[in-house]
């Protein structure tokens, strides 16, 4: 078994409650006390146009600042600091848009699997729709990230229409692009697991990239792995944690840590190399 550190014992205890941890964080992002702290960027994907949002969306701020040609120190600093600490753990446990997709995935419909390589599109969205297009064409361009963002469509456009309908005001329908995005997102949420996170999320691209360098990381104890491939069955993303536990496409739901031999676990960079490496080091010293 992987060395049962305090951290891994904690992970094993909390793992069955992941959805409730996500719900707990939702209360922070939805601002139950009507706080609108929009001069602070939250480290999650949550549209600041949402009537209940507490913090500013870092991706929206990066794009808006690119459009006015100003470096977004605050947004990039927040994402870099949080990502370098936790990697994509934020996606799996904290992000409200991830929770929404997880709930959608619970609907018992046959799910289609997306290949892992589709995760590279996230970098295209990050570089193109968040930085290059806003910088070159401003925020009016149809491919500006906020104009194609499903979080904005679901969290702003839909509540607006509902509010207008409930209060008896004239309903102002969102444009065709927004309606198409909402419909496509809802359908995709039911037929595949976390479609936005896997294929298009620019924030997930940053956190996923930082998986390899984060203080908190996944560790595979090679000498304990029996190659039973159970971790691959447990991975809803179709990943291969036994091959690359810190893959950029991993959202760190930590389900793979439930593998039978217990070869996979959570670790920090301060814990040093895994056991066989220590043996090799000792041999090197002896020689």
């Amino acid at each position: 078994m992987v060395k049962k550190t305090k951290l891994n014992r904690f992970v094993a205890r909390i793992l069955p409650w992941r959805i409730w941890v996500q719900v707990g964080f939702l209360f922070a992002w939805l601002g139950p006390f009507g706080l609108r702290l929009h001069n602070v960027c939250g480290p999650v994907f949550h549209c600041y146009a949402c009537p209940l949002s507490t913090f500013a969306c870092p991706i929206g701020i990066m794009a808006q600042f690119s459009a006015i040609h100003v470096f977004p120190f605050l947004a990039i600093g927040t994402v870099l600091a949080v990502g370098a600490l936790f990697g994509a753990l934020i996606c799996g446990w904290v992000c409200p848009f991830g929770l929404l997709q997880d709930l959608g995935a619970k609907v018992p419909i046959k799910k289609f699997s997306l290949p892992l390589w589709t995760g590279y599109f996230r970098y295209v969205v990050l570089i193109g729709a968040v930085f290059v297009i806003p910088y070159l064409f401003g925020e009016g361009h149809p491919l500006f990230v906020c104009r194609i963002c499903p979080a904005g469509a679901l969290e702003k456009a839909v509540p607006d229409v509902i509010t207008q309908a409930v209060t008896g005001k004239e309903i102002i329908w969102p444009n065709a692009v927004k309606i198409s995005i909402v419909v496509a997102m809802i359908v995709a949420m039911f037929i595949t697991i976390r479609p936005w996170c896997r294929v298009l999320c620019p924030l997930g691209a940053i956190f996923g990239f930082l998986n390899r360098f984060s203080v908190l990381s996944m560790r595979l104890e090679d000498h304990k792995c029996t190659a039973c491939k159970r971790c691959r069955t447990l991975c809803a993303y179709g990943g291969a944690p036994d091959n690359d536990p810190n893959h950029h496409g991993c959202i760190r739901c930590l389900e793979c840590t439930r593998c039978g031999p217990g070869a996979l676990g959570v670790s920090t960079v301060f814990e040093g190399p895994a056991a066989p490496e220590r043996v090799e080091e000792q041999q090197e010293v002896t020689n």
Binding site: N39, G138, V269
Partner: protein, 81 residues
Amino acid sequence: MAQSRRKTLVSITLVLLGVGLLAYGVAFHVINVHPKEDGAAAIETREPDAVRQASVGGLERDESGSVKQTYTGESPKACAT
């Protein structure tokens, strides 16, 4: 061991870089924002305040390259997007 130490160093450097950027943005970074009225003097705006204005779609870049508010008087409540 060397690889492990290198990874630790990279991780800590990235965290410190992020905290440094965040601290600089909060404490020192100032943006010159011009009010919507033509000819009005630019206001030195701290980045957190600029973030708040950007989050409601309140900032744009004009043809001369300067950052300009998109509204006069009270800021919009939410971004139109």
